[in-house]
C-alpha cells in the first residue's frame, strides 16, 4: 500500500512539474516548486516506511525546513534581485 501511495505522489509531482515548466509567470513556477517540495517531504516519509527504515523521517523534517526557507529566498530574490535587501515589499514602498 505504500507503493501505491508513492506512485500517486510521483504522478502528482509530474503534474506539478508540468505547471513549473509551463509557467507562465515566475510565481506559477515558484508555487509549483514549493508544492513539489511538500510532496517530496511526504514521499521521503513514505519511502522510509516502504523500505522499513523510519529513520528517513529526520530527512523529511530537514527537507521541510529547507523547502520553506528556499521558497521564501527565491521569492525575495525575484522581487528585489538581491537576497540582502531589507524592509517592506514594493507594494508597501509604493505607498499602498
Amino acid at each position: 500500500m505504500f507503493a501505491v501511495t508513492a506512485a500517486a505522489l510521483l504522478v502528482a509531482m509530474c503534474l506539478a512539474m508540468c505547471r513549473a515548466l509551463l509557467g507562465p509567470t515566475a510565481y506559477d513556477r515558484v508555487l509549483a516548486l514549493n508544492n513539489i517540495g511538500t510532496k517530496t517531504v511526504v514521499l521521503i516519509a513514505v519511502l522510509g516506511f516502504l523500505n522499513g527504515r523510519p529513520d528517513f523521517l529526520d530527512l523529511a523534517l530537514a527537507y521541510a525546513l529547507i523547502n520553506f526557507i528556499g521558497t521564501i529566498a527565491v521569492l525575495k530574490y525575484i522581487e528585489y534581485g538581491d537576497l540582502g535587501a531589507g524592509g517592506g515589499t514594493s507594494r508597501d514602498r509604493a505607498g499602498g
Partner: protein, 119 residues
C-alpha cells in the same frame, strides 16, 4: 478487533490522501491563473500530506516514529500558509491581475499566455 480495523483505516487514509494529492496537482494544471492555483496547491499541502502522514502514524503505532511524523505534519501546516501567502503577496506586488470571470472571455484558459507581471 483493533487489529482488523487499523490496517483498513490506514489504507483508507493513505488512499484518500493520495486522491487529494493527485486532485490538487490536477488543479495546478487545470486552473486558469496563479491565484486560483494556490487553492489547489493548498489542498495538497493540507489534506494530501495530512491524511498520508496520519495514515503512516496509524501504521506505526504509538512510538518515536509517530511523534516525528506529527512533528513533520505540524511543521508543514505552520509553514504552508506562510509560503502561500508570500507567493500571493509577491504576485500581487508585481502587478499580476487576478483572473476573473468577466475579464477572461477565453474560457478557462484566460490567464494563460499573458505572462502578466513576470519580471
Amino acid at each position: 478487533m483493533m487489529e482488523q480495523v487499523l490496517p483498513v483505516l490506514t489504507w483508507v487514509l493513505l488512499l484518500s490522501g493520495a486522491f487529494f494529492l493527485v486532485t490538487g496537482a490536477l488543479g495546478m494544471v487545470r486552473l486558469p491563473d496563479v491565484f486560483t492555483r494556490m487553492h489547489a496547491a493548498g489542498m495538497t499541502d493540507t489534506m494530501g500530506a495530512g491524511l498520508i502522514l496520519v495514515g503512516l502514524c496509524l501504521h506505526s503505532g504509538v512510538n518515536l516514529v509517530t511523534m516525528r511524523l506529527l512533528l513533520v505534519l505540524a511543521f508543514l501546516w505552520f509553514t504552508a500558509p506562510i509560503a502561500t501567502h508570500a507567493v500571493a503577496k509577491a504576485a500581487l506586488a508585481a502587478g499580476t491581475e487576478p483572473y476573473t470571470l468577466g475579464a477572461g472571455e477565453g474560457g478557462a484558459d484566460g490567464g494563460e499566455g499573458e505572462g502578466g507581471g513576470a519580471p
